[in-house]
């Protein structure tokens, strides 16, 4: 069973539709006990970082998400919330990836970074089974995580940034696998198969 976390800051419906297409059993939940019982956790997110972190505190999910030992996949804002800190609303995040979410420079590039961009795989990852560098995914982000020791793939939007990260049981993707056609579904399937 997969726990798809609904904390009021994510487009849960799209991820749920993708999991249904992959014929997976899942529950949409914000309940700590249910999250602890699940085999895997998907942590989606769209919107603003400080609002999202406040929601996690209100739902008493902040601590459990930091200490779970089962595979957890953060998507888009969910991934950025797994960093130490976000400059979006200047908020302390879950502290899984020791890096800070920065904003793209509006004087150099269009913000939000919106549309299909390619990734370059820089570190082997179970998420990328059957996926090659150059594959394109759908992004919609104004903030990004810089390239760091946990980066497994890189994309470019005037500067290089992390399009995916990995540390122990924690996985994060900046793009939206649930909105990225068959390549995106492959990423979700790979996560499910871990």
């Amino acid at each position: 069973m997969i726990a798809l976390i609904d904390y009021g800051a994510g487009n849960v419906a799209s991820v749920a539709n993708a999991l249904t297409e992959l014929k997976q059993e899942f529950i949409i939940t914000s309940n700590e006990a249910e999250i602890c019982r699940a085999q895997k956790i998907i942590f989606p997110g769209v919107g603003e970082a400080s609002y999202a972190i406040r929601q996690l505190h209100l739902l008493n999910l902040f601590t459990v998400l930091r200490i779970v030992k089962k595979p957890m996949l953060g998507i888009c804002l969910g991934m950025q919330l797994m960093a130490d800190f976000s400059k979006e609303g200047n908020v302390t995040c879950l502290g899984i990836f020791s890096v800070t979410a920065e904003k793209f420079d509006e004087s150099k590039t269009k913000v939000p970074h919106m549309g299909w961009n390619d990734i370059e795989i820089v570190k082997e990852s179970k998420l990328f089974k059957g996926i090659k560098s150059g594959e394109r995914f759908y992004f919609a982000n104004s903030y990004y995580l810089p390239v760091c020791p946990y980066t497994t793939s890189i994309s470019n939007n005037e500067i290089n940034f992390s399009s995916s990260l990995e540390k122990d049981n924690f996985y994060g993707v900046q793009f939206h696998p649930e909105k990225s056609g068959s390549a995106g579904l492959r990423i979700l399937k790979n996560f499910i198969d871990i």
């Binding site: 419906a13 799209s14 539709n17 609002y51 939000p112 549309g115 939007n157 056609g181």
Partner: protein, 251 residues
């Protein structure tokens, strides 16, 4: 590198796709869910649904349509048409839409842009702007092109960007349905003036029109309707042409 996007637009009336010229003379162009699935297969980069129904049943119909579309496709889509309140936006996003496009409501109440962007993120808020040239300047029109406002096109684009819109969907009413090419001069002015993505709309008739909008006006996405609905220009053929001419595009 970020790809330029090709976006089929589906005008929805009473649950069916329709297409007209200069916002009138509507003809039936098929089922929204079927067309959406077809475009997704044909490598459209995203879709826009604009609901032009005017009835009390509207919201319910639109929400169930959004749910059906979200189940059928794995590419992003935007929904617009008569959205005026935060709770409407919330319901559409929860039903599976990735973005909402706001038009008349933000002219009447510009604060709606900033409120919606704060709550749902800029990436979910598209400012749809319809413009028409009066011989002197581009004026902004609302209510499906029926009502002229006192706003000029460029000023309103800049203001919408400042208020937190994540994208501008700019439709030239003079060009809409003419197949005469996008309004390159004005689009160029807009992309030079603001730093959020711009979607060109109105006037696409041939492959070269898309190339010009990307190359000359530096827009981020091109929208078209009847060209795709009636398969006059297959998306694959268009994308191959653009790629062969040096435009970064997803094939």
């Amino acid at each position: 590198m970020l790809c330029k996007r090709i976006i089929p637009c589906l005008d929805i009336k009473d649950g069916r796709v329709v297409k007209g010229t200069n916002f009138v003379n509507l003809v039936d162009a098929g089922s929204p869910v079927e067309l959406a699935a077809r475009y997704s297969k044909e490598m459209a980069d995203e879709l826009v649904f604009l609901d032009i129904t005017a009835s009390n049943e509207k919201r319910k119909t639109l929400l169930s349509l959004v749910r059906e579309v979200a189940k059928a496709i794995r590419i992003p889509f935007t929904v617009g048409g008569g959205i005026s309140e935060i709770k409407d936006i919330e319901a559409l996003l929860k039903a599976g839409a990735d973005k909402v496009s706001l038009n008349s409501s933000i002219v009447k109440n510009p604060k709606l842009i900033s409120e919606a962007a704060k709550q749902f993120g800029s990436q979910a808020i598209v400012a749809a702007i319809d413009i028409k040239n009066n011989g002197k300047e581009n004026k902004v029109y609302i209510n499906g092109g029926r009502e002229e406002t006192n706003l000029t096109g460029l000023d309103w684009c800049k203001q919408a960007a400042e208020l937190g819109a994540g994208e501008i969907l700019l439709t030239s009413m003079d060009k809409d349905g003419t197949k005469d090419g996008y309004d390159i001069e004005f689009l160029k002015l807009v992309t030079l003036s603001i730093s959020i993505p711009v979607i060109a709309s109105g006037g696409a008739g041939k492959k070269e029109d898309f190339f010009d909008a990307f190359q000359l006006a530096n827009v981020d996405a091109c929208l078209a309707a009847s060209l795709f609905h009636f398969n006059i220009l297959p998306i694959a053929e268009l994308k191959n042409y653009l790629r062969n001419n040096g435009i970064t595009i997803r094939i």
